[in-house]
């Protein structure tokens, strides 16, 4: 099912290679720009098809432009990912073995946390318990800086969470590695790290913050969609009107 690509596809792909990840809105703009630059017809609602054509040619190289939702703003994003192995091999050429070990520990902290974040204190403590060559405090801080710069982690007020790009790219690895441990959103069925949890101990379903915003929008009294108990958490505002599309 391989399709012939045009320069507009190639320009889009080259840009994706440079930026790594983009919002759906920006992807649409980029798509139009690529078509215009190469004087090709552009149907604005055919972005998916356009990306599919590129993906059909990327597939033999174990690469893909994959879609995923940001836990921060609920917007769909497109990321260029490596589909080769279920390990975090994408990073092995940029990080040393002990740095990767610490990254895995950070992921452990994030997966097992309630708020999907790991504090720098906890991360520094983890660095103390490494089996490979230990990282000193300064080295750990440098590593965290690089991880944020390379768009694997996001930092806010001393706490680190997985970036959208990281979640999209490492989903197979995370699912395989953590299995039942990883939270899943009751509404969109994707992995959930920053989410709200039903307080009913025999229910305990999780919903992404943006999914909560959409699901409970306009309702006077929010109730858990699974057990009907009162949903006690603060309902966030919907960021932007956007249809929930399955991946």
């Amino acid at each position: 099912m391989s399709r012939q690509l045009g320069d507009h596809h190639r320009r889009f792909l080259q840009t994706m290679m440079t930026i790594g990840i983009t919002s759906e809105k920006e992807a649409k703009t980029l798509y139009q720009h690529c078509c215009e630059t190469h004087k090709t017809q552009c149907a604005p609602d055919r972005l998916e098809e356009f990306i599919e054509a590129i993906n059909s040619r990327l597939q033999p190289m174990f690469m893909q432009i994959r879609k995923g939702m940001s836990e921060e703003d609920g917007q769909q994003h497109y990321a260029l990912v490596n589909t080769a192995e279920t390990d975090i091999t994408r990073m092995t050429s940029d990080y040393a073995d002990n740095e990767l070990e610490l990254f895995r520990k950070i992921m452990d902290l994030i997966v097992s946390s309630e708020n999907g974040k790991a504090s720098s204190t906890d991360i520094l403590n983890s660095a103390d318990m490494m089996t490979s060559k230990k990282l000193k405090k300064g080295e750990t801080q440098q590593l965290l800086l690089r991880l944020v710069q390379d768009k694997w982690l996001c930092e806010s007020q001393g706490e680190y969470n997985l970036s959208t790009r990281c979640i999209i790219e490492m989903e197979p690895y995370i699912r395989a590695m953590y299995q039942d441990q990883v939270k899943v959103c009751h509404i969109c069925h994707n992995m959930a790290f920053q989410c709200q949890i039903c307080e009913n101990p025999s229910c305990g379903i999780k919903i992404h913050n943006p999914c909560v915003a959409r699901y409970f929008k306009g309702r006077m009294e929010p109730h858990c969609p699974a057990c009907d108990d009162f949903w006690p958490h603060e309902i966030p505002e919907v960021r932007e009107l956007h249809s929930l599309s399955k991946r």
Binding site: Q4, L5, D7, R10, R11, L13, Q14, T15, M17, T18, T37, I54, R57, L58, P60, M61, F62, M63, A84, T89, T92, S93, D94, Y95, A96, D97
Partner: protein, 254 residues
């Protein structure tokens, strides 16, 4: 994918060191390639080609040229008898899928990638501006420039190699190491100088990615002169010798 090595192994500054450490790889003959292909399934060759493409893409991300010997040793391995066929297919994939051109800049062992889409990529890097200034100086001065001339020019633009720059950091390192490693510049020692002095030239990647005609246009605008007034540079920029002007196929030394 290869594990990351310690920095001292991956940074190769002087070209002569690279040559010493190379395992010589002699190209198989076309009959050898044919025989080799008969022993492999199309799927196997495709798979190996895909691995080569991935490997080159990873290296290209850092603008590091791929050494043929390394490629053969790490990726191609047992498929070395059909190496020319694999490279041929990889080139096709780069062109058709990515709009990139795989070029051998050095007949012995270097390969690197060049953009063939007619309009160039949006430069996202301020270092591009810095590089551009340096390339312009070298070009206007006939192709070779002593290093202090570059530093003087940069100082006039408030970029001092002796001080840490807000945007570029260690300027000297960026210019003499990073740009050289990426093959944008060549930084060679001038023989018989005491204390040691170096000179700059355009690197292979600059030859391919930067159009001299464009530089001349830019200089023309800067000095409010017609580019033709620099007759020698104008001639050089507009003869067919510059390989950056169009997407013409390079003559490969297979």
């Amino acid at each position: 994918m290869t594990q990351r090595k310690r920095p001292s192994n991956t940074l190769r500054l002087s070209q002569s060191k690279e040559e010493d450490e190379d395992v010589t790889f002699t190209q198989p003959s076309s009959s050898q390639v044919q025989r080799g292909l008969e022993k492999l399934t199309p799927a196997q060759v495709d798979q190996k080609t895909a691995e080569v493409v991935q490997y080159i893409l990873v290296k290209d991300q850092k603008k590091i040229p791929v050494r043929r010997a390394e490629l053969v040793k790490n990726i191609v391995k047992d498929y070395r008898t059909v190496y020319p066929e694999i490279i041929k297919r990889a080139k096709r994939i780069f062109e058709q899928v990515f709009g990139l051109k795989l070029v051998e800049i050095d007949p012995k062992n270097h390969i690197l990638n060049k953009n063939v889409l007619s309009v160039h990529r949006c430069p996202s890097n301020p270092k591009t501006g810095l590089l551009f200034v340096i390339l312009s100086v070298i070009f206007m001065k006939g192709g070779i420039v002593r290093e202090n001339q570059i530093w003087n020019t940069l100082k006039k633009l408030r970029v001092d190699p002796g001080q840490r720059h807000e945007e570029f950091g260690d300027v000297r390192k960026v210019v003499t190491e990073e740009f050289v490693r990426q093959r944008y510049l060549e930084y060679t020692r001038i023989p018989h100088t005491e204390p040691i002095e170096y000179e700059f030239r355009w690197g292979h990647r600059a030859d391919m990615e930067v159009s001299k005609a464009q530089i001349l246009e830019f200089m023309g605008q800067l000095h409010e002169q017609d580019p033709r007034s620099w007759s020698q540079q104008y001639r050089e920029a507009h003869t067919g010798s510059s390989s950056a002007s169009s997407g013409s196929l390079s003559t490969s030394t297979f």
